[in-house]
Symmetry: C2
């Protein structure tokens, strides 16, 4: 956070045509509430006023919480003391084991828990000098956090059909260009699997991007909060920390895989070696002047969740399977409606591009990303977050569909959806898909309605 | 947090002789872990290694948690969703009622909950431009937070025998001097009752200081986290928000009055009027990019605690009575040992000055605040936090004694101490007092040992 929250410094003008706004382009000037949280608040207000909103605008899962974790929360009441800033030893040990099981040998002193991976990311950004290289599009928070800290943002396009990891060639040239323009890029944030695209960068792409990061002296921050929600259980995931253990910070948390966004539990792994230890110490110092420590009861939850007993593993696996089924069905609907739309590989997002049906959309007053988000909500009762919030080109007709709130309105419905053999045929999901199908048909006109009718 | 965590900017050289270091004088350059959390960590390590430490160094209470709040924590498990950044409506309503019962009419939209009042304070400081005026001495966190944000600190001496509120005349001249020197003081942090001194600023002093703040256009941040622990239940407390409702932010939390430091619950009240609303919006925006929202289960705790049902009121009242008795006994011991030491009026701190026995202490290698803290821990097994950590003169022999960890080692002992008719005669407290008496006798020499023997 800068001295006086002034108008933010200019981003480095390295944005390719597809990402003209730069990530989080709407966040210039005074800070605004994060657009996803703001949209969710608006939807809540509309629903409270009696409106029937199809809420595809917020990456919040309300799948059942494993009873084991509810029990640990209650048992954690005994932790009324502050405890170590980094987290209790048993919690850090569980966190270290979590990373070790994912191909990155880790000691407990390399991990820190905090109130959400977002707070940990802000502390990491604050602790490392320099400007921030981001994939475009990327999660709505990276750019605003960078700008709050007075850093410049260097957006780099992701390869077509991919997400979360920039094109290696464009990364190298963007870093050179930024340095020539007086910027000081030092951090590269990657997202595996990605928000908003749902893509999982293939190992070869991760390898090439890590090579560029190493050659250009960039610290990699790997946001892996959706990692345990890769849909295909045997698909290999190569994280940057396996390749660059001494220059990668890994972030994760319980918000997505365990549907515990509201419990605010984040975990960070710091790089191997002396530089990693120094960075950990700086983040710990910042944490000590900010949140002091993750709340004790939630540390107890974290200890159990990151230890991954069979009950937790099975629950997360079932969740990943569900998200794969629902995002797949939404993807099919969108494709049938004329969207260009890579099939998601992890998490609960779909990121369509409606360029091919632009004339039909124009008839509804939809001509760019902001009008797309506004008209879908006001005219059709459908909440989505448009691409410009993710640093994508505001002229493009891209938006993020979050499927995480389609699993029903009650805990019983959501439990049934989680364990259904074919989740897309369960009443809440089927209803949501039918409504989306109808909206897409109305939006894109009769010409594609026939195609759509064939898609369940 | 500044761009690159550079060496911190120079503080304004307005420090009077008694506070030559400026608050948190040790925090220049790279950020370090907050000294109180660091000391507590060291004491934990010594205790784990088998050492018997008299821990007077950390303001953490482990008094029993009211069963009602343990129950609400468990019930709060249902709040797995993120919810509004500011806090759920029912929580904000409870928070508004809490302030209204303390003489400040408040609407729910004026309050925000967060993961500790420390995190809220950092966000408030970040949201308001300008430099920060602090009482000297003051809580260890104010100055490091200000410096992390790249602000300058203007320390102003507290009147003799007082604490938490600066001398009004010196405040006015320090602000003028700072402005003439190119600084831009805009915030004044007050602490009622105070940490480290345990003093409660009398209404007349608050009135005069608020007058100066208003004349000089300062926003007041009133840290009232110890307010419900004023020892005398009929002593009037005049908070700055009663006098300057449109230019005072009030901060509180559950860490002290309900011994829930490890649960991390903070509450902020924003000023009346449009400027207050704008400040609330900026803090909300910063919160949305940092902690997102207070964890849902802890919001449920906050809702009940700030509603103050009779069970909670009685518990807090009993705690305040206990802290009054124990700090009073420690105060008597220190006075008998030759210390200058105002009698605490609230909270669980005593802040003695051993200037009168300087020659006796020199024989033990104690010549200033740092050596006092080091020798007490290494030579006598007594942990205290020395005055320089609070921005006091490092040459002075002042230190903070925290009595909050003297209530026993088990929940049963602490429950008995809480409800004892005469807490200082209970075994854990009596043992701690006896040990402190012995250490003081050894430190100050036989000359005062006789006096000490008369003090229980």
């Amino acid at each position: 956070m800068p001295r006086t929250l002034p108008p933010n410094p200019s981003d480095v003008p390295a944005a390719p045509p597809r990402a003209a706004a730069g990530p989080g382009g709407g966040a210039r000037g005074r800070p605004a509430v994060s657009p996803n949280l703001r949209l969710d608040q608006r939807v809540r207000e509309r629903v409270a006023a009696g409106e029937d909103v199809l809420h595809l605008g917020f990456g919040e899962s309300r799948l059942p919480v494993p009873p084991l974790l509810v029990e640990r929360l209650a048992a954690g009441a005994v932790h009324q003391d502050y405890g170590p800033v980094e987290g209790r030893p048993a919690v850090r040990e569980a966190g270290a084991g979590y990373f070790a099981r994912r191909g990155v040998p880790t000691t407990p002193d390399q991990v820190i828990v905090g109130p959400g991976s977002k707070a940990l990311l802000l502390a990491v950004l604050a602790a490392v000098p320099g400007d921030v290289v981001l994939p475009a599009p990327c999660w709505v928070t990276y750019a605003p956090q960078s700008r709050l800290l007075g850093r410049r943002v260097v957006p780099v396009r992701v390869p077509d059909g991919c997400g979360g990891v920039p094109d290696p060639g464009e990364l190298a040239s963007a870093v050179r260009h930024a340095r020539a323009a007086g910027a000081d890029p030092r951090l590269l944030v990657l997202t595996l699997p990605d928000n908003p695209t749902g893509a999982l960068a293939p190992p070869e792409l991760v390898r090439r991007v890590c090579g560029v990061a190493e050659r250009h002296g960039l610290l990699v921050v790997s946001d892996e909060i959706y990692r345990d929600l890769v849909h295909d259980p045997v698909r290999p995931v190569l994280g940057p920390a396996e390749l660059l253990p001494a220059r990668t910070v890994v972030l994760t948390g319980l918000s997505k895989s365990l549907a515990l966004g509201g419990w605010r539990v984040g975990l960070a792994r710091f790089p191997d070696g002396p530089a990693g230890r120094a960075l950990r110490d700086r983040v710990t110092a910042l944490a000590s002047e900010s949140w002091s420590a993750l709340a004790g009861p939630l540390q107890e939850v974290a200890r159990t969740a990151f230890a991954e007993p069979p009950e937790i593993r099975a629950h997360v696996r079932a969740s990943a399977r569900l998200h794969g089924a629902v995002t797949g069905a939404v993807h099919d609907l969108l494709r049938a409606a004329g969207a260009r739309c890579p099939r998601p590989a992890g998490g609960f997002y779909v990121y369509p591009d409606l360029a091919a049906v632009r004339p039909a959309l124009a008839a509804h007053g939809i001509t760019d990303a902001p009008s797309l988000q506004a008209r879908l909500l006001d005219g059709f009762g459908v909440a989505v977050l448009a691409g410009h919030h993710f640093g994508d080109d505001p002229r493009a007709l891209r938006f993020r569909v979050a499927t995480s709130l389609l699993h029903g309105d009650t805990p019983e419905e959501r439990l049934a959806v989680l364990h259904a053999a074919d989740p897309v045929t369960t009443p809440p999901v089927a209803r949501a898909l039918a409504r989306l199908r109808a909206v897409l048909a109305e939006l894109t006109g009769a010409s594609v309605a026939a195609d759509l009718s064939g898609v369940r």
